[in-house]
Amino acid sequence: MSGFDTTVHLIYLACAVCFVLGLHLMNAPASARRGNRLSAAGMTAAIVTTAAVLVHDRVIAGWAVAALVAGGVLGAVAGLITARRVEMTAMPQLVSLFNAVGGGAAALIALGDALAHSADLAGQPVRTSVTTVLDLAIGGVTLSGSLVASGKLAGMVPGRPIGVPGGRWINAVLGLAAVVLAGLFLTGHAGMAALYGIGFAALAAGVLLTLPIGGADMPVVISLLNACTGTAVAMAGFVLGSDALIIAGALVGAAGAILTKLMADAMNRPISAIIAGGYGTGDDAAGPAGSTGPVREVTAEDAALQLAYAHKVVIVPGYGLAAAQAQHELVALARALTERGAEVSYGIHPVAGRMPGHMNVLLAEADAPYAQLKDLEEVNPQFPGTDVALVVGANDVTNPAARRPGNPVSGMPILDVDRARSVIVIKRSLGHGYAGIDNELYTHPSTAMLFADAKKGLSALLVGVREYAA
């Protein structure tokens, strides 16, 4: 190994260390930004080093350089503009889009590498042939699946589960076709044609797998797709013999897998059931009203009075808050209550929002103090000592029915809002959540309903609270 090669390997190793340490620093808000920058520095070093290798080896064709530079500039500008402009509420679809292109690039590497060796495909070692097939299949599913998920999150594709007639059979056929083609390819009976076939099957399967999954399950789906991209990138690393890709891909695969499990646990639904789809309506939680028990309605003035004299308030925000873009009003209200001397915190369910931790980002954007953001385990013991629990745009995650067996939300970890001394729910109607059942919280004796749009309701509460400021 020449001195140049040794240096290159050592730099790649240092880059991998940067990725690991960067992710490690993400475990506290104070160091997270430094972590991301360390990771970005590692990435820059990896790119510069690779460019140096290309220059040093002098084997790259002029047109390939042109394609690389043109594509790189185009992609970088597109990425930069979207990343700068995106609203925090639109974060899930953007992350999903970046995930799609990452998976797509990994799949294209498999195809490109096979094309470059198309004269001698049968002579390729197992190390590259098997991983080429895996890279192409996983990357293809991720590309189309993430695009559909991104479209659903952005509202361009309906968020409700879309059943494709015979979708399950079509998927089975696609899977079987891919396996047969892979077999033919690996035994040397078919060449590029088999790879194209696998690619198309993977793209079609990605669409068919994501369409039937409802909006409520999106946090799980994008975590899972993230894990898939990581795996596809690692496979591309096997194909190209690049440790940097293998390590980074495996890290992302692990991250995605952990988040997938956490999200599925938070909804108490097995991952297999989520992939099967058909659950969760999507964009609008206001389904047909069908509550049976007596509901106590409250005016904004009365609710404000209650809040103004509360010593301890826990706010439970849900996706409805984000959909109404009311996070700024909510934080303003929380600040007004804090200034009056109340102890205010936010109880945030793991699946509040459209991706893991989404609600925290929205509240952070609105300047909510980090120390007030509490997760499920932290906040639940506090409800019995809470004067007012204010629920805004959250539904199923507060339904006490989850503690009983035999209904769609049974066993799901919930926020014990009903154990607070009093509860105020801001909601437009008595509509159902994703689970499609009545929320028993709304007919609970200590609950008062403030029927309003989240933004208007919170503004009215803020005005009311300020009137008692004296």
Binding site: A105, A255, L262
Partner: protein, 98 residues
Amino acid sequence: MNALLLADLTVFTLSLLVGFEVISKVPATLHTPLMSGANAVHGVVIVGVMLLAASVTTVAGYVLVLIAAAFAAMNVTGGYVVTDRMLAMFRTRKEGRR
């Protein structure tokens, strides 16, 4: 199975374990930046595209590299920039409280 494949498999498996270990400690509050940051890390696929570019010699190959480079560059720049934007919001809060 040859030695190279075994070495790669070892690296892959150990990296997975390191990933599980490092990431399971991240609090729920930071899950969105974590996912977005991890997303940026798989932008390392751009290195793969660069390596691939060295071995293509056909028009189809060039087109493929062009598309793959655009995809990967979008992934890596967008991923890091948007993660940084999000984390800046968490940071200013801490400083504001002091």
